[in-house]
Symmetry: C2
Subunit: 388 residues, 2 copies
């Protein structure tokens, strides 16, 4: 089905997918005196005296900024802040529907790292969290790093960490299906942008042997000593691919147990899959066309196959992570979303599939499964409590 | 009645007075495909091709940022961005209730002019208008001037122009009551901050003879050649007080037809009122305590008396202006709110009181009169159409 025309008609009719709703009536003088002047002055003074009260008396308690510079929107590339708005509004809709989080889109008319960081810092007082979205790599890494240092509210780049969490959840369950141990598997990640980097890091944090993990960018396998690498690739090269395997995807795949594609459609050839270890796991996340088509994958020896698409089994979708992540972070009022929280979230998502239900074609809960956000939020809160 | 405790309890219970509402259902795959991926990509591409489409397919169509640096919040002074949030949320509630405008509070953790301007410019792509709020003078003038030059959406400093519009509306009707011509009256404005400056300018634009208008700041009457004046006071000195009357409020008031106070409580002495011209008009706008108390004013020769308070007759409240101003500006998609639009808005507000109803104690429509925002919006739209 072609959704394009219908989507355009819907957006034109609605003029935007979110609106501001008032939680207070203002039908008479009395209402006005409580919600606005003179009553509001006492609330202002309370916060002026103790800034922490802003978390308990204002929308900061439940509000997240969805911030993009429009530089890497969906698969559409650098289309700018105005054109990014429909995606950010959509994200706000999902935040509300799945996490009861009030999210507001902020699209920035700059693509300079320093200006992005500065702007987000300056608008932060009214927000309880920052969700970075569709900012191109490596800028997104710098922006996130700097903001984390300077803000006392959670900063989360969904393209990195949301993806990493759901792919890890998928890996945990897929490993159970193929009865392999996370410590033993050889992993290949194709794509070294925002998502690829974060997937590599969370895999290693979850127990994957970094030395056996190979990441590839458009130049081929990343290894220490290679040229044409930014600081982030240099960094990852130090902790991965100890054998310094060179070459392209074909070379990297030989003997691999797991393939994660966060790159582009149809670049994984069926004959290469046959060189992988027995019972391979393939997560082909490129959208809308996966790195290997579902039909082609079915004909190979792949045992567990997942994609980002809703029309195939094992949809691996960020929607399973971000609403619950922020729900938990706001409820626990954490200053940051830690690595432990992300791991706990992935385990919580994976844990929703009971052992008796788990099979090659059913490793992930469905996006509309209402248990997911709650389970993720609880995992975040539990992790936050454990740190205290 | 003391609203403080009740207001604090209400704010704590609600955790903020506004929330984000979704206008689209997301109950299944089909919904998701229209509101989010894959359908949304077509909307993004439409806007990427023609940026103007952002006004017709996103929340920009109806969304205004309520921006403050927290430097001059109500009468509380420089209490900072966090403490300003309850007021900005309240403003958003009023925008929705009275103008059906989606307004979102942005409180900035900077009080530097350049940074305020830069930040607002950078977040502007998703907003259809900017409402500046509670920014201290003279910074507010600079911020507004610079933004007007650089943005193609309306920028409106409510403390200036909202106040100016409603005070002019009050003046127009008060003059009918006392049967004086706007060209003949001698006006005294006490207070040369954001509101005072804007009131002076709109009065002159509406026909008041600037030469006979005297503004006062904390140093006394403003006149050309005086010391201790910022650039904005220098400017106003050139077009007002041609007789270079010196001294304080007492000196300025002799023979005045109109007094406008945007200063502080109880600084207008009853005996000074007696030196004003016959049938004086007094708008004592300081909040919560007017420049002269209602009870004291009643004992003087004042004929028309107005304040910002809801418990006395003739409440002169910004709420009569800003919701309709932005409703009209967004509907007409104007790039700026012009002087003509502000004059038209004031006349529209004044015009809601029919000649047969008009009397000294009834010169202004009530804040909850639903006709007001519509009349103001229509005036703005008519004025916009006339320019095209």
């Amino acid at each position: 089905m072609d959704y394009s025309k219908k989507a355009i008609a819907l957006h034109k009719k609605l003029k935007g997918k979110i609106s501001i709703c008032s939680k207070v009536p203002v039908k008479n003088k009395h209402d006005l005196s409580l919600a606005y002047t003179p009553g509001v002055a006492a609330v202002c003074q309370l916060i002026a005296k103790d800034k922490k009260e802003v978390f308990t008396h204002t929308i900061k308690a439940n509000t997240v900024a969805v911030v993009s510079d429009g530089s890497a929107v969906l698969g559409l590339g650098n289309i700018g802040p105005e054109a990014a708005m429909p995606v950010m509004e959509g994200k706000a809709v999902l935040f509300k529907e799945f996490g009861d989080v009030d999210a507001f889109p902020i699209c920035l008319s700059t693509q300079e790292t320093e200006k992005i960081v500065e702007t987000i810092k300056l608008i932060a007082p009214g927000f309880g969290g920052i969700n970075l979205e569709d900012i191109s790599a490596p800028r997104c890494f710098e922006v996130e790093e700097k903001l984390k240092k300077e803000l006392d509210i959670p900063v989360f780049h969904d393209d990195q960490h949301g993806t990493a969490i759901v792919v890890l959840a998928a890996l945990l369950n897929a490993l159970k299906v193929v009865r392999k141990n996370i410590k033993d598997v050889k992993v290949v990640i194709n794509g070294a942008g925002a998502a690829g980097m974060a997937v590599a890091k969370i895999f290693i944090a979850a127990g994957v042997d970094g030395g056996k993990l190979i990441m590839l960018d458009s130049q081929g396998a990343i290894h220490s000593g290679r040229t044409a690498m930014n600081a982030y690739k240099e960094q990852i090269a130090k902790i991965t691919n100890v054998e310094k395997i060179k070459g392209g995807l074909q070379e990297a795949l030989a003997g691999a147990d797991v393939f994660v594609g966060v790159s582009q459609g149809n670049i994984l050839k069926p004959e290469w899959v046959e060189t992988m270890a027995e019972k391979p796991i393939v997560f082909a996340m490129a959208n809308p066309n996966p790195e290997i088509a579902y039909e082609a994958a079915k004909k190979t020896k792949i045992v567990v196959f997942g994609t980002g698409r809703s029309d195939y089994p094992n949809q691996i979708n960020n929607i399973l992570a971000f609403p619950g992540i922020f729900r938990g972070a706001l409820d626990a009022r954490v200053p940051a979303i830690t690595e432990e929280m992300k791991l706990a979230a992935a385990k919580a998502i994976a844990g929703l599939i009971l052992a008796k239900e788990l099979k090659a074609n059913y490793i992930m809960p469905k996006p509309f499964d209402k248990r997911v956000a709650k389970a993720v939020a609880n995992a975040v809160k539990k992790s936050a409590a454990a740190r205290r």
